[in-house]
């Protein structure tokens, strides 16, 4: 057979020829069109298939020389067909060094005529990457049965290899999970025979290792029969329904005798056809979990309780905070308002504010003073002397006050001082000065004085007026006390009386002399007449001052009149260890009269009442002063004492001149008071009280009644 005798050279020649023909099969050649396809040579057909087969196909001569390799070699190894054909030791450079020995053995076997399937090895690509491949090989024989070498087919199994690796890793992971999961895991077939389990379940079931459980049923394990029945029952349910039974809580007596609280789930296992072929069980020991759960519940309750408490506390705190904030806001609002007010006040009133720096020698150095200073003093703020300015404008008589104020301020004490200043035009004005020292903790001394001064001249004038009025009232009040009036009368009348008596007696003596000195007697008698008249004049003058000396009558609010004398009356009461009770109606009609005279009457009545109670025990001495409208549109003031009262004889005479029940009395008070009341168109009378004491009534007509025609 020519083929069998073909030499290598012949084969190579044939190969070249085949290659040339193969080249003619390149796409785009006229031979590639469909019409021509039917005329394709069957040999061409085979070659095309061989060349385009996905796996790497190669043909190696019996001497090991590579005869042919298809294009897949480039995809798998990165080496071109030409590179492979010219490679002296093909295929070893394509093989990972670790697997070369194996491939060498394969090649030697193949050359020897063996065949093999799917031997895995690693390909080292031209770019250095490593891929898994599997080689299958077989000898090739010619038609005559002679050996043509062998062919090999190399398949890229990297993906399969990866999948296998992944599967193995997964399997390992799963095994690890099953082995270490703190649950009992087991699986059985439909007959209830265990196929496998993990270590945890094996321990519970009382078998030495998971491998020992295979083939056993629940009746051959550690548990009691009824328990095995129950397990079986559960399994049957899974088989019957084909559905998982989840989270069965059960107590299980385990191999070590311990009764475990288990939470068991059983899941059906299915074969490829979807038929239920077994059951997978997972037991979770929930004893600790239960305890932990109970513990957790308790902790949670406690926590909740604490949270509630804390929440309540927080709510309270919040509320308090809210209130505080509200309060603060109010305060701030108030502060703001007050600042605003201060600002307005500072601008609109005559107050001026100032700041003085305190020098080391204690002098006050002007920092600033507000413009109101100019309005009050007529000096511009700049004109205030820089050092101790206020003291310099102080009235000379009041400078000691200002100096003392400065000394007190230096001790850190706030001061309110009233003093006079001499203003620009030489007038005297009163200031009321509030000064606040700023204390420096570190320096331990006062460093600054802030203050404000107010022009109180008008008030001072009013006060002066009031004082004058009070002085007059006080004078009259004193006069109205009988002792004082006696002294006054005595002094006024004593001198003329003394002169009269003395002259008369001297005249008598002169008449008895021999001869009588008539000239001297005449002079004595003249003086008697003169001083008798003078005494009469004193009486007239006294009357005038008490009754007839009419001041311009004014409209009087009797409530105010009584309020004005309350202080005197109460002072008098204190001296008598008594107290005064006022009962003044509001809305009293006004009366017209002399304020001081009306006050004098009331004070006189008060004094009489207090004197009348002196023999009563100190705690019981109460004098009542009442004022109310009377029936004739006027008013009536009643002064009631709770003294021993008066005898009929005394009551009949109290308005007589020189009648008195008091050891030091002159007996003129009520006489004068009545004459004043009558001069005002009113009346003064007395009534006995139902209980003790007497009441003196002073009625005065109202302004309206007085003005009526």
């Amino acid at each position: 057979m020519p083929d069998s005798r073909k030499t290598k050279a012949e084969l190579l020649t044939e190969l070249r020829r085949l290659r040339a023909r193969l080249a003619k099969l390149e796409p785009g050649t006229p031979m590639a069109d469909t019409a021509a396809a039917a005329s394709i040579d069957p040999q061409e057909h085979f070659r095309a298939v061989a060349d385009y087969t996905y796996d790497l196909e190669s043909w190696v001569a019996p001497d090991g020389q590579l005869l042919w390799v298809n294009a897949a070699v480039e995809r798998l190894t990165g080496y071109s067909v030409a590179e492979c054909l010219s490679m002296p030791e093909y295929p070893l450079p394509l093989v990972h060094p670790a697997d070369r020995a194996q491939i060498v053995r394969v090649l030697e076997g193949a050359i020897a005529g063996s065949c093999g399937n799917d031997v895995p090895f690693r390909v080292q690509r031209k770019d250095g990457a490593v891929r898994w491949a599997a080689i299958s090989w077989q000898p090739i024989h010619g038609r005559e049965g002679h050996c043509l070498g062998h062919r090999s087919s190399i398949r890229d199994i990297s993906d399969r290899k990866q999948a296998e690796d992944a599967l193995r890793a997964q399997r390992t992971l799963l095994d690890s999970i099953i082995a270490h999961i703190p649950c009992g895991v087991y699986w059985k077939d439909r007959a209830g025979r265990y196929q496998g389990c993990n270590a945890a379940f094996a321990r519970a079931a009382g078998v030495p290792s998971p491998a020992d459980i295979a083939g056993r049923t629940d009746y051959e394990l550690a548990w009691e029969r009824d328990q095995a029945d129950w397990f079986r029952q559960c399994d049957e349910r899974v088989f019957a329904t084909g559905e998982a039974v989840l989270n069965i809580e059960e107590a299980e007596r385990q191999a070590d005798g311990r009764v475990a609280q288990l939470l068991t789930s059983k899941v059906p296992l299915r074969d490829d056809a979807g038929q239920v072929c077994g059951v997978l069980g997972i037991d979770t020991d929930i004893g600790e979990l239960k305890a932990a759960e109970a513990e957790l519940r308790r902790a949670r309750n406690e926590l909740e309780a604490r949270v509630r408490e804390r929440t309540a506390a927080l709510a309270t705190a919040n509320e308090r905070l809210r209130l505080q904030i509200a309060e603060r806001e109010q305060v701030q609002e108030a502060l703001h308002k007050s600042q605003e007010r201060y600002r307005l006040v500072a601008e609109l009133t005559s107050d001026f504010a100032y700041a003085f720096r305190v020098e080391s020698d204690g002098s006050f150095c002007k920092e600033w003073v507000t413009d109101a200073f100019a309005r009050i003093t007529g000096y511009a703020p700049e004109e205030l002397e820089p050092v101790n300015g206020l003291e310099r404008i102080a009235h000379p008589d009041d400078r000691p006050i200002v100096q003392r104020r400065a000394q007190m301020l230096l001790t850190g004490q706030a001061m309110t001082t009233e003093f006079r200043i001499v203003i620009h035009d030489g007038q005297v004005r009163w200031l009321r000065d509030h000064a606040q020292p700023t204390w420096d903790e570190r320096a331990h001394c006062v460093v600054r004085i802030l203050g404000a001064a107010q022009d109180i001249t008008a008030r001072k004038q009013a006060e002066e007026e009031a004082r004058r009025h009070q002085a007059a009232l006080l004078h009259m009040a004193r006069l109205s006390t009988m002792g004082e009036l006696t002294a006054q009368l005595a002094h006024e009348l004593n001198q003329p009386l003394c002169t009269i008596v003395g002259n008369a007696q001297t005249a008598q003596r002169l008449m008895t002399q021999d001869p009588p000195d008539f000239a001297e007697v005449r002079v004595a008698l003249r003086d008697i007449v003169t001083y008798g008249n003078r005494a009469a004049h004193v009486i007239h003058r006294l009357r005038d001052s008490l009754r007839l000396q009419q001041r311009e009558p004014v409209v009087l609010n009797i409530q105010r009149v009584i309020e004005d004398i309350a202080e005197f009356a109460e002072a008098d009461a204190r001296q008598h260890d008594a107290r005064i009770q006022f009962e003044i109606s509001s809305h009293l009609p006004t009366v017209r009269g002399d304020l001081i005279q009306i006050q004098q009457i009331i004070l006189n009545l008060v004094h009489n009442g207090l004197e009348a109670m002196m023999e009563m025990p100190a705690g019981t001495r109460t004098l009542k002063i009442a004022a109310r409208p009377d029936e004739s549109q006027g008013i009536v003031v009643r002064v009631s004492d709770f003294g021993p009262g008066l005898t009929d004889a005394a009551a009949a005479r109290i308005f007589e001149p020189f009648f008195t029940t008091k050891p030091t009395g002159l007996g003129m008070g009520l006489v004068i008071s009545r004459s004043i009341a009558e001069a005002h168109g009113g009346r003064l009378w007395m009534t006995r009280n139902v209980g003790r004491g007497v009441t003196l009534h002073l009625s005065l007509p109202s302004v309206l009644a007085g003005d009526a025609p």
Partner: protein, 211 residues
């Protein structure tokens, strides 16, 4: 000493002219002399401290009061007893005045005899005062005439010491002491030791008698 024939002098000080003149008239009606003054100051301006008599004085007056005048006259050692008159009957003031040596304290109005009796009593006291004052003045004059050595001897004689003791104490001869003693007795106008003691006391010499 001759008895003065001149009638007693009464000084009247009162701001009230009527009272003043009335008292003057009353005083004169009993044969005494009267001088009137409207104020304390007026009186002080014209008064010679050696004048004797008595003073009728109103307690309360504008300016210096009667009590002020009393104080000044005491300081002047004036021989002028005071009768106070008052329109106020001020007991406390009366007590004060009497304690300071007033002769009387009379309330206005008064009976003429009450005042006249008081005036007579005051004038009698004035005479006593006058004579004791003149005696004192005379004693002082005599004392001033002594030599220092005579004064030393006097001081020891009035304590009752004997000439021998005095001589020993002063370290001089007893004979010399005798001479000094005779001279000082003469100068002091004393006849005996008790007499000498009286005169010395009147002149203000402090006499300490031995126990």
């Amino acid at each position: 000493m001759t008895i003065q024939a001149e009638p007693g002098l009464v000084f009247v000080v009162d701001d009230d002219a009527g009272v003043r003149q009335m008292i003057s008239r009353m005083v004169r009606s009993v044969g005494l002399r009267a001088e009137t003054y409207a104020s304390v100051q007026e009186f002080l301006d014209l008064y010679d401290r050696h004048q004797t008599g008595c003073l009728v004085l109103d307690v309360r007056m504008p300016g210096l009061s009667g009590l002020d005048l009393q104080e000044r006259l005491t300081a002047l050692e004036a021989p002028l007893p005071i009768i106070f008159i008052t329109g106020h009957g001020d007991i406390a003031m009366g007590v004060r005045a009497m304690k300071r040596g007033a002769v009387d304290f009379i309330e206005k109005p008064f009976q003429d005899q009450v005042l006249l009796d008081a005036i007579h009593a005051a004038l009698a006291r004035a005479a006593e005062l006058q004579s004791s004052l003149s005696a004192r003045d005379e004693a002082r004059t005599r004392l001033e005439r002594l030599t220092p050595r005579e004064r030393e001897v006097l001081a020891l004689v009035v304590t009752g010491k004997l000439n021998k003791q005095i001589a020993a104490q002063l370290g001089i001869a007893e004979q010399t002491i005798k001479m000094h003693r005779g001279r000082l007795m003469r100068k002091m106008g004393a006849d005996s030791v008790p007499d000498l003691i009286r005169v010395a006391q009147r002149a203000g010499v402090v006499v300490e008698l031995p126990d």
